[in-house]
Every structure is written in structure tokens, then in C-alpha cells.
Amino acid sequence: MTLVNDAALHRYRTMRRIRSFEERVGEMFLKGETAGSMLHLSIGEEAVVGLTDHMTDGDTFTTHHRGHGVFLARGADPMRMLAEIGGRDVGYCRGKGGSMHIADRGLGHLGANAIVGGGIPHIVGAGITARNTGSGAISVAFFGDGAMGQGILYEAMNMAALWKLPVVFCCVNNQYGMGTRVDRAAGKQDFPARADAFGLRAARADGADVEAVQETARAIVDGARDGQPGFLEIDAYRFHGHARMDKSPYRTPEEEATGRKRDPLATARTALDDDATLDTIDADANAEMDRAMAGAIAATAPASATMFEDVYDPTTAAPQPQRARLAAVLGERP
């Protein structure tokens, strides 16, 4: 096996783990073990691995609400992710954030965001930190085509270009902002052209082919490390509805069937000549995610008193619980 194939196999494994993970998220929901139904699956968008492959320890990133795959690719523990998605105490955010606000400072995840575009400008600040401290780190914002309509993206891209910051804007275009197809949201769909107009190094890659993404992303990431901020559009298809409850009545079965043929896992399998190890990788990923799901389901809910923690730094006073205030007011009355 050549080194190139080893790397490609690794990318396949990561994508397979993402898909298996997202399938377990769906299962956990059906079992009633998730915290709510605001679960946005990234199935069909696994080729983000082509970009995360170029990231390293110390790099930081923010994601949109459909960011499970990115976080897994950056080294997340799937049990702790699923525990967070289930609102459990051992989750990454102690059961306070959930699917849409998962984060881990140690792995460089500065936070998933449920405001479309909300986390994008944070990479500009991370880029200023990297510049001022000489850390050599890059910061990447992952977002969807929906964020292409948000003004904050353009403010952030302008600042990044103006200050030559080590950052990358990655638009995972899955063709839909909730139920609105991208051609109903953008007068002109050439997103790299928009980034280019700001002075970013911009490119589009086929999200059905992780090797193509990986190749295109290399120049973008290398440029960012040299102070040339970049923009990468990964052209993908959202296999399922917007959130777990959405059956996508706004698109036709024919469109979905065609879209789901743009499957980065299937493309990778073919490219790897259906190597026998792929079946082992699949089985391992499924077993890993089954264990993760079982562990998450077995985990306990956070103690209710923890709701007052983490509003402010623990060295400062926590908010007063309402019962304490009422007891102080009514307890003093004659």
C-alpha cells in the first residue's frame, strides 16, 4: 500500500466515522435520548475532511449548526459528543450547549453556532491573536450556503483580507438554507467570486470527491499560513432534511435521488478500488459509534444546581437562584 493510499484510506475512515456518527444521532433521536430535535446532520457533507486534513494542533475553528463532522474530523470523542447531544453531564459542554453549541477549547473548537454566520467573525479575532503572538496557527470558519446571505461574513472577509490574517472561510454549500434552495437565495451563485472580490484566495471543490477537496484545500490552507486568507466552497448535497423532523417536502424525490448520488463515501470507495480493508473500516466505525451511543445513553443528566454555573467565571459570584431571592424577600417579612 502506498503512502498516498494510506492517506486516502485515512480520509475514507474519517468520513465513514462521520456518517456512522450522524446515523447514531438519528437513532438516538428515535430512542428519545437526544435533547430535543434540533439535530442537523452532515450526511453528504463528509468531504470537509479534505480541508480538516490540512489542519494541525493549535489551529482553531468555528462551525455552523451542522458541524458534527468537522468536530469529529478534528479529533472529537464521539461518546462525549453524543452525550452533549443528549444533554448529559459528561458531554463536551456539560449538557449546556447541545448539538448546536458544541465546543472544545483543547481541540481548537471555538464553538458551533446556531445563529447563521454568528461564529464567522471569531476567526478574524483568532487570526489577530495568531498574528500578534506569532503562533503560526490558522483559524477556519465552517458555514453553509445560508450564511452567504449574512452581512457579517462580508465584514469578516474584508477584515481578514485587509489585515492579511491566517484564516480560511469554508462554505459547505449543501444547496439548502433550511427549505430554501440556493438558487432562490442568491442572485448569482459564484461564491468564490465574491470572496475573490474581497482579496481572498478563493476556490470551489467538488464535495462528492474528498481527494479533490483535499487537493484544492492545500493551496488555500498553505496560503492562509503565509498570511493570504482564503475561501473554499465545498459543493455538496444535503442528503436529509434541515433538522431531524424535516421530511423535505420542498424538494422532489427525483432531486433527492440525483443529489444522493453525489456521495463522497461512494466516490472514495470507488477510487480505492473497493479495497478489502474498507469493509473492516466500516465495521470498526459502526462498532465504535455503537459503543459511543451506548455510553452516552448510559450517562446521567447534569445536576440541576449546575444550571447556575458557567454564566460567569467561577472566581466571580454566580447568579442568585430565584428561590434564594424569594426566601430573602419573604423570609424577612414580619
Binding site: T60, T62, G91, Y92, C93, R94, G95, K96, G97, H101, A103, D104, R105, L110, G111, N113, I115, G118, G119, I120, P121, H122, I123, V124, G125, A126, G127, I128, T129, A130, R131, N132, T133, S139, G151, I152, E155, A156, N158, M159, L162, W163, E309, D310, V311, Y312, D313, P314, T315, T316, A317, P319, R325, A328, V329, E332, R333, P334
Partner: protein
């Protein structure tokens, strides 16, 4: 000790903090070359360089968003929004991002940043450059809020704000920038605690920012008839309200004076707390005196008439304590 202007005290706080800690950076519109719209940051670009005094495009949400990301990754940014009225532009970054990151992420990622801005009337700057929007900030758990009314607080509260591990919104008053005063060797009160600016027995007036000075003038004018205790709230969140409640329990009366409108306001909050905590000590219900419930008009005559001044504070305080109605109430 020499007197300095409020804006000089602010600049000194920034430069002292920047000299002490390389992580402190300024980011905002016109903070560098121009020196700040009101001259607060003049000279800091020359002293600390463009990597630490960062002039930005006119992109308020981007400024606050960048500051958040810098704070998350180890810097201690001071973002500047030129007028508090522009806070509507940045409310997502402020209220959904800065305020909630620590909590949403389970305590892992704090946002130790200061958002400097200024508000209030006095320059005929009209409806979009004159508001007092502190209630918008105070309504959001996760945000800290300080509003200096004195030169010494301009220095010490800003230094204190820069030591906080969580985001602080720091609202200056545009009509106080040229006010002169001394910077004390230490803060007049601990961070989060009000300061009693004048002692009295008959009435507690709670106020902050520029209205502190109108209130002190009114207290002087009332001195022969009514003994007023003036409590400067300084930090609206966190607020150790025990200083205020102790005062109200002694005087039995509380008037809250603000430049902001009274509906769903800081003054509403203080009135509610006083009612809950001091009911059995009160001679009168707590009373609010604030800006009229209207946008700020541009005409100097209308602008002045839309917010309280020392005369109105004096009239209302006298009415509350002595039952002597002002002429306009006849």
C-alpha cells in the same frame, strides 16, 4: 493632585493596562490614526503600534466578533463602538455570542473583553446618536455593565473592567469627556458596588453617569429643607445592591434618576428591588424620574427638555418628601 479630564483618565487607564499586559489590544473605528471620535485613544497608536491599536472598517458586528475571537484565543481586546446607539448593529455578537459562549460551552471558553462605547444627550446628536441603552445590556445574562460618572471612576472602573474574566460593556457619557477631576489612588468602591456620593437622612436618590451631577446639584439646592443621600450605582451588573438597600432602609424613601427612559428600564429594576427588599421600611413607594418616553429630538431646547435636570430633580424630590407640589403640578 492634578485634575485631568474624564477622557484623559480613560486614556490613562487604557495605556496603563496596555503597558502592563501585551494581550490588551484596542480595536474599533478611528481608534488609531484619528485618536478616537472623542479623543480618548489619541497617541496610543504611536505608542503601541498598529498590531495593538487596530483601526477597522465601519463594520460594528465584525469589530465585536473579531474581539470575541481574540478574547477566546488569549488576547484581552477593548472593542470600541463609537456610539451606544450602534449596539443594535452588534446585538447578535454581543448578546448571543459574547454573553453566552462561556455558558453554552460548559465553562470552557470565556470572553474576557471590554466593549467601550458612549451614550447620552448633550450634543444635539439626535435620535440615533444620543440614547441611553443600558437596559438592553443589563437584560442579558452573561454581560457585565459599568457606567462611570466621575473622573476617578473613568480610570478605576475601566482598569477594573479590564481585569474581569467575562465581557464588560463600558458606557461612557459624551457630555462628560471634558469634565475635570482627580483620579483617586484607589477606586471609590469595589467593582460591583455602588458609592455613596453624598450622605443624607430623608431621601435616597439612586443614579449613575451624567445624572449623578444633576442629582448632586439638586441635593445642594435642597440642603436647607431635605437631606438627600446620593448613591452612584457605577456598576449596573454585577450590582451588590446592599449599599443601596441599606441607604433606603435608613431614609425610607427612594427616587431613581436616569437619563434613560423609564419603561422597562434600569430604574424599573431598581424600583422593583427596592420594593421587594425595603417594603417594610418605605414611607413612600419608590419613584422613577427619567428621560421622556420619546426618541431624542435634535433641537437643543427639545433635547434638554426631554431629560431630567437639577431643577426637575429638586422639584420631584421636594414633592416626594415634603408634599410641596411644583408649579407645573398645580
Amino acid at each position: 493632585m492634578t485634575e485631568v479630564a474624564y477622557r484623559d483618565a480613560l486614556r490613562l487607564a487604557l495605556s496603563d493596562a496596555m503597558a502592563a499586559d501585551e494581550a490588551v489590544v484596542l480595536i474599533g473605528e478611528e481608534v488609531g490614526l484619528y485618536g478616537g471620535a472623542y479623543g480618548v485613544t489619541k497617541g496610543l497608536l504611536d505608542r503601541f503600534g498598529a498590531n495593538r491599536v487596530i483601526d477597522t472598517p465601519i463594520s460594528e458586528p465584525g469589530i465585536v466578533g473579531a474581539a470575541i475571537g481574540a478574547a477566546m484565543t488569549g488576547l484581552r481586546p477593548v472593542a470600541e463602538i463609537m456610539y451606544v446607539d450602534f449596539v443594535g448593529m452588534v446585538m447578535d455578537q454581543l448578546a448571543n455570542q459574547a454573553a453566552k459562549s462561556r455558558y453554552m460551552f460548559g465553562g470552557q471558553i470565556g470572553v474576557p473583553m471590554v466593549l467601550r462605547t458612549q451614550g447620552g444627550t448633550g450634543r444635539s446628536a439626535a435620535a440615533q446618536h444620543s440614547q441611553s441603552l443600558e437596559a438592553w445590556i443589563m437584560h442579558t445574562p452573561g454581560l457585565r455593565l459599568a457606567m462611570p460618572g466621575t473622573v476617578s471612576d473613568a480610570y478605576h472602573l475601566l482598569r477594573d473592567a479590564l481585569r474581569q474574566p467575562d465581557p464588560v460593556v463600558f458606557i461612557e457619557h459624551k457630555s462628560l469627556y471634558t469634565m475635570k477631576g482627580e483620579i483617586g489612588d484607589s477606586p471609590d468602591a469595589p467593582w460591583g458596588s455602588p458609592a455613596i456620593r453624598r450622605a443624607g437622612q430623608d431621601l435616597t436618590i439612586a443614579t449613575y453617569s451624567r445624572m449623578l451631577h444633576e442629582t448632586l446639584k439638586a441635593a445642594d439646592a435642597l440642603a436647607a429643607d431635605v437631606s438627600v443621600e446620593v448613591v452612584d450605582l457605577r456598576c449596573l451588573n454585577p450590582m451588590d445592591d446592599s449599599v443601596l438597600m441599606d441607604s433606603v432602609r435608613r431614609t425610607g424613601r427612594c427616587l431613581i434618576v436616569t437619563e434613560a427612559v423609564t419603561t422597562a428600564s434600569v430604574s424599573s429594576e431598581i424600583a422593583a428591588r427596592v420594593t421587594e427588599q425595603c417594603f417594610d421600611w418605605l414611607e413612600e413607594p419608590p419613584l422613577r424620574l427619567g428621560g421622556e418616553d420619546i426618541p431624542i429630538p435634535v433641537s437643543p431646547a427639545l433635547e434638554r427638555a426631554s431629560i431630567p435636570d437639577a431643577v426637575l430633580i429638586e422639584e420631584v424630590a421636594r414633592w416626594l418628601v415634603t408634599r410641596e407640589a411644583p408649579t407645573w403640578a398645580a
